[in-house]
């Protein structure tokens, strides 16, 4: 394991290697080397199973972090490969030739985040949403509650009991401040 990581560090310049659990290690790779790293992991290191491709929106740093989680059935170990791409020009190399299921994940990311994967089959087809005319919904600047109230309305009579308010006002009015 460590020997493999040393080799990958030398050849692909991976960084931020953190062992989250005995069976899961995270690493970050640059956008240019990502596809060749995934190919190497699949072909020569035995990480043949692609669990999923997903994306985390770090709006405060202005990046999208694409996450590819691969699994090795022989060593029973998973690698989570992080690739940072820019939020303004969201484009990434498509890996639909590496795994036959990858095009579905890429299609979903295109719809939910707006990330383009040039060459991926049926990329612009609607996946979950039909007739969607707003920004891609999983982006953090999209306010889903506001949209739901404007588009679908809001039925009166809904009553919420927030325990924190109840405790502050009714049970402990002289306490003052939030306790950790």
């Amino acid at each position: 394991m460590n020997e493999m990581l040393e080799r990958l560090k030398r050849d692909f310049n991976i960084s931020d290697i953190i062992e989250r659990k005995p069976r899961l290690t995270t690493l970050t790779v640059s956008k240019q080397s990502a596809e060749t790293l995934l190919r190497e992991l699949r072909d020569r290191e035995g990480y043949t199973h692609l669990n999923f491709i997903t994306c985390i929106d770090y709006i405060e740093d202005n990046i999208f972090t694409l996450v590819y989680v691969l699994h090795n059935y022989d060593k029973k170990h998973s690698l989570s490969v992080h690739v940072n791409i820019s939020r303004d020009n969201e484009e990434m190399v498509s890996i639909h030739t590496l795994w036959a299921q990858a095009w579905t994940y890429q299609r979903e990311l295109r719809e939910m985040y707006g990330i383009r994967f040039p060459g991926s089959p049926r990329l612009d087809e609607d996946f979950c949403l039909e007739g969607w005319d707003q920004i891609p919904p999983m982006r953090r600047e999209f306010d889903t509650k506001k949209f739901s109230e404007e588009r679908f309305g809001h039925r009166e009579g809904r009553h919420s009991d927030v325990p924190r308010e109840h405790m502050k006002v009714e049970l402990y009015p002289n306490r003052g401040g939030d306790e950790k």
């Binding site: 035995g46 985390i56 036959a100 579905t104």
Partner: protein
Amino acid sequence: MKTYTGHSSALDFAQPEPVDMASGKYVRLWQGPQHPGITGNMSLELILDGDTIIDCKTHVGYLHRGFEKLMERRTFIQNFTVVCRIAVPEPTFNEYLYSHAVETLSGIEVPERAIWLRTMNLELMRLASFLMWIGGQGGAFGQYTVANWTIAYRDFVLDLFEEMTGARIYHMYIVPGGVRAGLPDGFEKRARDIMDGAEKMLEQVERVMFNNVVFKARSKGLGVITPDMIDPYGIVGPNARACGFARDLRKDEPYLAYDQLDFEVITGSDSDAYERAYLRLQETRQCINLIRQCLDRMPTDGPFQADMPNVLHWKIPAGETYVKAECTRGEYGYYMVTDGSEFVRRVHVRGPSYTHAIAVMERLAVGNNIADIAGLMVSLHTYPPEIER
């Protein structure tokens, strides 16, 4: 080092040559959302040449509620109430995986009795789900009697759930930290009676369904998954085990109490609809056996929930984890990222039907008779809600 040989013609199925619809030779038919022959609320857009399918496109999204966005707006303890609705026919695995991910990230240890209770709850859920599935597979080929038997018997298992957790379908029993309550008195005897009855009923089901000439003729050779399709398409669960790959997360990466139970991984030889169905029948019997073992070995006293921090002010340190479990359909996973605040940063739910229902289904449907599509879809055991969450 083993080298990898993927299947190179996958793109032929993902993006096939367009069909000349103006020639009048082909018919475009939607086996659409309102149809008794699909496993839930999704649709297949089929292009037929006579009775044979030459192209199939899966359309999902009819059940999309945007869970991953909703979970970012709720605190950790509020999320546990919504997650069970992600996979509607088999909700408990979501509760367990969400709780496990939160416990892994915040370093909470679950007590011994809670581990056994969780194991038994998950195995009962697996039994209920398989009983519904057997009914669905029989019904897809016209054997509605089998469906009536198994779905009616499943009600007794739902009664057990009601005793244990308070609800039939959405239990909300497995919370971060343990479970919500212990077992009521007399539960063990009732559970054993129901397991005995289930075994007798499964014998009858095997005689009626699996020895039936029509079922065999229709399902043998239907939807064959070859071994070189498993890794490129990410096929997991009984679909892959029927091909000969002995991959079961309960044995490979044991979680909960599975390292203390004894059971074997069941495999088949070549994965067509009949083999997959028979494998699932055997797994149902194995499941009954596991429930009996849990009832034998479970500790009867001890705490069932760990000491939790104040859940209304619960901040989990920044981190990331991926937890998985073996549900009836394969590997179910939760990927969770936290950033130190009260809200979860990102949750991604990996349902096994994501690839089975879209990429694999579109490939296996080509070349089949339209009458067999319902049976093929049920034999892959796909549940639409976990595809689009």
